[in-house]
């Protein structure tokens, strides 16, 4: 076992236990791990961005390969920094305008195509087919297994939920029934989403516990056992200190 692996195991175990200690109560060990997480994440991102963007995508191509056209995006990007100088901060608007313009131009047509048109098409396609010479033909048939009941359920779900969010008409009479159906579908969707969320959170717990079990091995020096004792001991000491402190005046 390499020294790096052993040190990594001790650090990972310690930080996991410190984070888990929050389940008992907020404490300095949790805060230490939390701040380390934020710091390391930001530090890693800054270093990787510097190395990839500034060194490999800007500096080396310009200096080594003489790709002078790269100076144009570099110039536009540099305008962003003008925000820090109040007198010329207006220059940053050009950079933002460029980003917003390009971003919107790229995203809007693609998003409409993928998330609206394709989804609408899929919602109505099993019911209506385009037949050459005849135009749109209603194709759904209860006796045909290919046109499943799911098709109708999805269509009812989509229309009733859309109607529920249509506030220009009072939800009364038949409209109330449609809106209630929409709520019914929404509740099912929320339930499914919550079920998946529970599964995801439990998966994270399983992942950490699997690592803790692995690090309880003698080849790592049993960091799980030692650091668990340390964490529990620290929590006991901290709770005793809190009890012995006099209550704040007021």
């Amino acid at each position: 076992m390499s020294v790096e692996s052993i040190i990594g195991a001790w650090v990972a175990t310690g930080l996991t236990l410190f984070i888990f200690s929050f389940l008992y109560r907020d404490n300095p060990l949790f805060k230490l791990a939390e701040h380390l997480y934020v710091g390391v994440s930001v530090g890693y991102t800054i270093v990787k961005t510097y190395d990839t963007v500034l060194v490999h995508l800007i500096w080396k191509p310009i200096v080594e390969n003489h790709e002078w056209t790269l100076l144009i995006p570099v110039f536009i990007g540099t305008l962003m920094l003008a925000r820090y100088a109040p007198k010329v901060s207006w220059l940053s608007r050009y950079a933002f305008a460029f980003i917003v313009g390009v971003g919107a131009g790229l995203a809007i047509p693609r998003t409409i195509s993928s998330f609206i048109l394709k989804q609408v098409e899929d919602t109505v396609r099993p019911l209506i087919a385009l037949v050459p010479g005849e135009g749109a033909v209603f194709t759904w048939n209860l006796l045909n297994p290919a046109s499943g009941v799911n098709t109708i359920i999805i269509l009812i779900g989509v229309t009733s939920v859309l109607f529920y969010f249509f506030f220009s008409v009072e939800h009364a009479g038949p409209g109330k029934a449609v809106a209630r159906t929409g709520i019914f579908f929404l509740m099912i969707a929320f339930g499914a989403a919550f079920g998946y969320t529970v599964m995801a959170r439990m998966s994270l717990l399983i992942g950490r516990l699997t690592d803790l079990i692995g690090y309880a091995d003698a080849s790592y020096g049993r960091p799980t056992l030692w650091l668990l004792l340390l964490t529990v001991g620290a929590l006991v000491l901290l709770s005793r200190r809190v009890k012995s402190e006099p209550p704040p005046e007021g």
Partner: protein
């Protein structure tokens, strides 16, 4: 105070302890509950299984260490399958914070399967721009990634022979923990450059991706640790995900029981 009232005011740390034990005990003493393969996971497996040797398989590891428990087993299983089929694997990430983890995963699986860097696989690393990276790759892969993660020029690498853009990719899978991820790959990649793609995601994201699956916008979906376990079963290589399934079932059962008990106690207090 009645029993129901006392139970509704129970110290939440007792609940944490119950959930912790329900997770820990099956991990220590697994029983091996059966795993049923869902059609959406099988679709990804079947597509890779049908690809001829030497096909280009793009794997985008769009996650960081915070999603490792769910997406790491998916990535390992997919890579094992792709390497076993002798596909040319092109790996990359759209998440800067996941670069090191992605490199570790592909290097580890390649070492286990005896695959050679730049000949059988390449890790392109990360490039800034999110969705713009996908669009650029659709136009020219080499201008988006002039060098791979280790700084070697991508032009001329044996693994990328005949690959100029996303149009030359035979199958792509994005393992996404958020944005950019599976949706971005569909919207700016598959829909525009017309290649087949599947997805893998965290459990939280899975319900939001099912509409894409139903409409055929993605051909398959591996959802969360459960999906990873199904894929591990399909390739016959049981790993971390399968090992975690007993614990997952036990915690789900515990949560169902707790929800039912809470409702019982709640209605009991209302009746009083």
């Amino acid at each position: 105070m009645s029993l129901a009232e006392r139970m509704l005011k129970i110290d939440r740390r007792i609940i944490f302890l119950i959930i912790g034990l329900c997770t820990l005990l099956p991990l220590l003493y697994p029983v091996g509950l059966p795993i049923k393969i869902s059609p959406e996971v099988r679709a990804v497996y079947d597509y890779i299984e049908s690809m001829p040797e030497g096909s280009v398989f793009l794997l985008s590891l769009d996650f960081d260490p915070s999603s490792k428990p769910e997406l790491y087993p998916q990535a390992v299983a997919l890579l094992h399958h792709a390497f076993r089929k002798n596909l040319r694997v092109v790996a990359m990430t759209l998440w800067v914070s996941g670069t090191g983890l992605a490199d570790q995963i592909i290097t580890q699986v390649a070492r286990e399967t005896g695959k050679e860097d730049t000949k059988d696989y390449v890790f392109l690393g990360w490039s800034p721009g999110g969705t713009a990276v996908i669009i650029n790759m659709g136009q020219n892969l080499y201008t988006t990634f002039p060098t791979d993660y280790h700084g070697r020029p991508t032009k001329g690498l044996p693994v990328l022979e005949g690959v100029n853009s996303l149009r030359d990719v035979d199958y792509a899978v994005s393992l996404g923990a958020g944005n950019p991820g599976v949706e971005a790959w569909y919207v700016f990649g598959k829909d525009k450059y017309k290649f087949e793609m599947g997805g893998g995601c965290t459990g939280v994201m899975a319900p939001g991706l099912y509409p894409l699956l139903r409409s055929g916008q993605i051909n398959g979906l591996i959802g969360g640790l459960r999906g990873a376990a199904e894929y591990e079963s399909l390739i016959g290589r049981k790993g971390q995900a399968v090992a975690g399934m007993d614990a997952q079932s036990a915690t789900h059962m515990a949560i169902i029981v707790l929800v039912m008990l809470c409702n019982l106690f709640y209605f009991a207090t209302r009746r009083q």
